[in-house]
């Protein structure tokens, strides 16, 4: 058995809304340059875990042509069909058994240019009832959640715009983000195209072409790869029920359960104090207060205070998505894994302009399904 597992290498593409290269080339270039940066070869990797989805790839068994591109030819390999953070979770379990010491985890998609995300999302809806009715979808679920939160906690459209602006500004300083909007302002956000009110276009994450790869290693082999391992000290994943009407979209109990499990593993008693930063998977800006509160990072209903005090800004007491988060780039399937890469960058002091001083412990989050039905949480430490 291996007692501890670390992120020992990570890399993401410069995400774009229209990649100049095909999916296979994007994946190949990324993995090759990660190996190069780390001074390793594919033969240093014991097992390969991909994250992709046949619907978002538009192909049945979509890994058929991508597995040779990551160095897995004639090697041990498998695929998780969910966000890439779940692939990291699986690789973490594989390494814990001691059967493997190293794993390459990769998530990717061409969500910017090859398909319309709302279309592939619509295919997750119950085909007999909700899909033909077309009322409940990822957007409307998020809007219901946002509306409920805003009403209950007096969180205004201006607060939501302010929160969105924080993320856009962080994304502006993130060289990997696809969204660049130096002229963003509260007024412009408030005036952007209404979708499902209170949600507007500016609140939506930026669907992008992109990929993220992470190398995990057991404690035994970690120092061979880096003197800056980022330890995965806690993990948790839980799923909620499907029908949106059956869920409490504000409480997000299942995310709380995932977080509690991860905190317990990591020995964290007071996340508000012990967590230095959060990288969370929001498909819409409005999810940020709900998800961070369910993660126990802020007091329930404190969204307004958090925005006003700047607590979640890079200079705040508990920065949330210093990378800009998925508002900066959402290459579906890679998005949660990018959160792990961004958190690792922060803990290794490699986050450039968005670097948070003295960050030692981070919480990382990914979601799948409408209204974050399935949530995955990692606690990582330097």
């Amino acid at each position: 058995m291996n007692e501890r597992v670390a992120v020992v290498g990570y890399k993401q593409t410069k995400h774009t809304i229209d990649s100049p290269v095909a999916r296979e080339r994007m994946v190949y270039e990324l993995v090759k340059s990660l190996y190069h940066d780390m001074g390793i070869t594919k033969d240093d990797i014991d097992t390969f875990v991909l994250a992709s989805n046949d619907f978002t790839d538009g192909r049945t068994i979509s890994e058929v042509f991508t597995v040779p591109r990551i160095g897995a030819y004639m090697k041990d390999e498998t695929k998780v069909e969910a966000d890439g953070l779940n692939a990291a979770l699986y690789a973490y379990m594989r390494i814990l058994t001691g059967l493997y010491n190293t794993a390459l985890v990769i998530g990717f998609s061409m969500a910017g240019s090859e398909f319309r995300v709302p279309l592939t999302q619509s295919y997750t809806m119950d085909p007999a009832y909700e899909r033909p009715r077309g009322i409940i979808n990822f957007y409307s679920t998020a809007a219901l959640q946002a509306g409920a939160y805003m009403k209950k906690y007096k969180f205004t459209d201006e607060d939501l715009a302010q929160l969105t602006l924080k993320n856009i500004r962080n994304a502006n300083n993130n060289p990997f983000a696809a969204r660049k909007d130096p002229g963003a302002s509260v007024e412009k956000i408030l005036g952007s195209r209404p979708l499902y009110l209170p949600l507007r276009e500016a609140h939506v994450s930026t669907y992008a072409d992109g990929a993220c790869a992470v190398v995990l290693s057991s404690k035994k082999t970690a120092k061979k790869f880096t003197d800056k391992p980022v330890w995965i000290d806690g993990v948790g994943h839980f799923m909620d029920t499907y029908y949106v009407g059956d869920r409490d979209l504000l409480a997000m109990e299942h995310l709380t359960a995932a977080a509690k499990k991860a905190y317990k593993m990591a020995g964290i008693k007071n996340p508000k104090k012990e967590i230095d930063l959060a990288e969370i998977h929001t498909n819409f800006a409005s999810e940020e207060p709900v998800l961070t509160e369910a993660l126990g990072l802020f007091k329930p209903g404190s969204g307004k205070d958090v925005v006003k005090s700047g607590a979640s800004a890079i200079t705040g007491t508990l920065p949330v998505n210093p990378s800009g988060g998925p508002l900066g780039a959402n290459p579906v399937n890679a998005t949660g894994l990018i959160r792990l890469a961004e958190a690792s960058a922060q803990l290794r002091k490699e986050a450039g302009q968005n670097q948070i001083k003295g960050a030692k412990t981070a919480v990382v989050h990914a979601q799948d399904g409408p209204g974050a039905q399935l949530n995955t949480v990692f606690i990582v430490r330097r």
Binding site: R23, F115, P127, A128
Partner: protein, 149 residues
């Protein structure tokens, strides 16, 4: 208890996708076909010759750019005799699809095999050669078929 079940019609619209495809291997391949050459790429490290040749080696995970021309003769590998259509109806003129390893290549190329009278006498390992269309224009169709030597 009675149960009512209804069937809901729905589609998975693959035309809703715009796919980007890496075209290096096939571009080089069809360019060669115009000049009646079979072109591929060779890995300088492990020596594997890919036809059509992508710009990377999947064994070594490195870029490769050495263009090589391979022989127009080779060895018949696997083959199959199409005797029926998708619905099982016998076809009038059975044909053989085959994979061929051209001399100097590590790849299996697919094509139609001609030059036989009784398909039962066709055997793996037989020698074959490339037969071109009368006019080549830089398209996959330039490579008409493989012929038993």
């Amino acid at each position: 208890m009675t149960q009512e079940t209804r069937i809901i019609e729905s589609t998975w619209d693959l035309t809703a996708y715009q796919f980007k495809i890496e075209a290096d291997a096939l571009s080089l391949f069809v360019k060669g076909l115009k000049d009646r050459k079979i072109l591929g790429r060779k890995c300088g490290t492990c020596g594997t010759v890919y036809v059509p040749g992508p710009t990377y080696c999947r064994k070594c995970l490195i870029d490769i750019d050495q263009v090589v021309e391979v022989s127009q003769e080779g060895r018949l590998d696997a083959f199959t005799v199409s005797l029926a259509d998708v619905r099982g109806k016998a076809v009038d003129n059975p044909f053989i699809s085959c994979t061929v390893k051209l001399d100097g290549s590590d790849s299996f190329l697919m094509g139609v095999l001609e030059g036989w009278t009784d398909w039962r006498s066709v055997k793996e390992g037989m020698r074959v050669k490339v037969v071109w269309k009368d006019v080549t224009q830089g398209a996959l169709a330039d490579l008409s078929h493989f012929q038993l030597i």
